[in-house]
Amino acid sequence: MSIGHALLGLLEGGPRHGYDLKRAYDERFGQDRPLHYGQVYSTLSRLLKNGLVTDAGVEAGDGPERKRYAITDAGVTDVERWLSTPEKPEPYLQNTLYSKVVLALLSGRGATEVLDAQRSAHLTAMRELTRRKADGDLADQLICDFALFHLEADLRWLELTAARIDQLAAEVTR
């Protein structure tokens, strides 16, 4: 998740100060990981330096956190480019899991146990998300669904690998 782009996107609605941006970000995207103030200010100063945001004056009251930021034309172009570029389809867990399975087989440990333990951990996470979905609003549901479909994909891989474990064992220990 590119925090810079998310903050730029939020600034398209109008100038805001850092604290306000953090709140808006946390409310919309921060379900699991709210931003630290440090992240917000370091991101904003990078955006400022790159000309993607500009100083929009100081709000009544004082202190550095009252400074307001506005998105520039270059910032808008940057958001547009970000939105139109698809994310890299990342096979994020398979590499680790595959390595674990192969290492278990090579060392004569049970690979099925590795797969079973992982399935159980995945299902526990999926139950938690399913519960959250039942209590949540539509935004929660969509965010949980995204995670659920990804975990499900991992699980399908686990099942398929479990079904081929004897074949894999024969190949890696040959």
Binding site: D116, R119, S120, H122, L123, M126, R127, L129, T130, A134, L148, F149, L151, E152, L155, R156, E159, A162, A163
Partner: protein, 224 residues
């Protein structure tokens, strides 16, 4: 305390060994997902647990009654009063309206028509399908039909609901809706659910999972 406990189940069809020493326990009120690859013996296990099919060897206890030692009529009486069933499809009587279908198990137990249909309508409303009460199953969508089937499974106040791929013929959104309604209704009434599924997102509605592989069930609770 287990409500249903099966020990050492074996079942063969000709040369195919469908169950090969399966153990499983189901406690009152819990939702247990039975998972595992196609052909691993999930449906056979469910049928043995529910007293639909006798195992070749092994015992199935429901409370203190041994299903495998019971006569046919006592077993079907037990099924009718204590169990509810939901399958992938084809369980509703096509000639009856949805409300008549849901009222049917009560009618078979001797409940008067008016009273049975009132209870049936209540359940249809809880499952958000009272709108199709007067339609026949053939005139409903797949998702609506499954909800009607769940209402029918719940109407007698069963202690265990056996569900074999209840969302197998539905798209994701309808499948999730059906699972949500099924598990919520089961939790409200205290019924246990034995849910066969190969879909993880469906299994995520359960409290725990039991994996069946090559006719053997890995139930960590059984040993406790």
């Amino acid at each position: 305390m287990s409500l249903v406990k099966a020990e050492g189940l074996f079942k063969s069809f000709g040369k195919t060994r469908a169950l090969d020493g399966a153990d499983i326990t189901i406690r009152a009120g819990e939702v247990v997902a039975i998972m595992g690859p196609s052909g691993s013996g999930k449906s056979t296990l469910l049928h043995c647990l529910a007293g639909i099919m006798p195992p070749d060897k092994g015992t199935v206890m429901y409370r203190d009654q041994d299903l495998t030692a019971m006569g046919d009529s006592a077993r079907s009486e037990l099924r009718r009063t204590e169990f509810g069933f939901v399958f992938q499809f084809g369980q509703l009587v096509p000639e009856l309206t949805c409300v008549e279908n849901v009222a049917l198990p009560l009618r078979l137990s001797g409940v008067k028509r008016k009273q049975a249909e009132r209870a049936a309508l209540d359940w249809l409303a809880k499952l958000e399908v009272d709108t199709v009460a007067d339609q026949r199953p053939g005139e409903t969508s797949g998702g609506q039909g499954q909800r009607v089937a769940i209402a029918r499974a719940l109407v007698t106040g069963p202690k265990v609901i056996f569900a074999d791929e209840p969302t197998g013929a539905l798209d994701s959104l309808n499948g999730e809706r059906v699972m949500h309604l099924l598990t919520t209704a089961a939790r409200d009434t205290g019924a246990a659910v034995v849910l066969v599924t190969h879909e993880a997102r469906v299994a995520a509605y359960s409290d725990r999972e039991v994996v069946v592989r090559d006719g053997r069930a890995r139930d960590v609770e059984f040993a406790r």
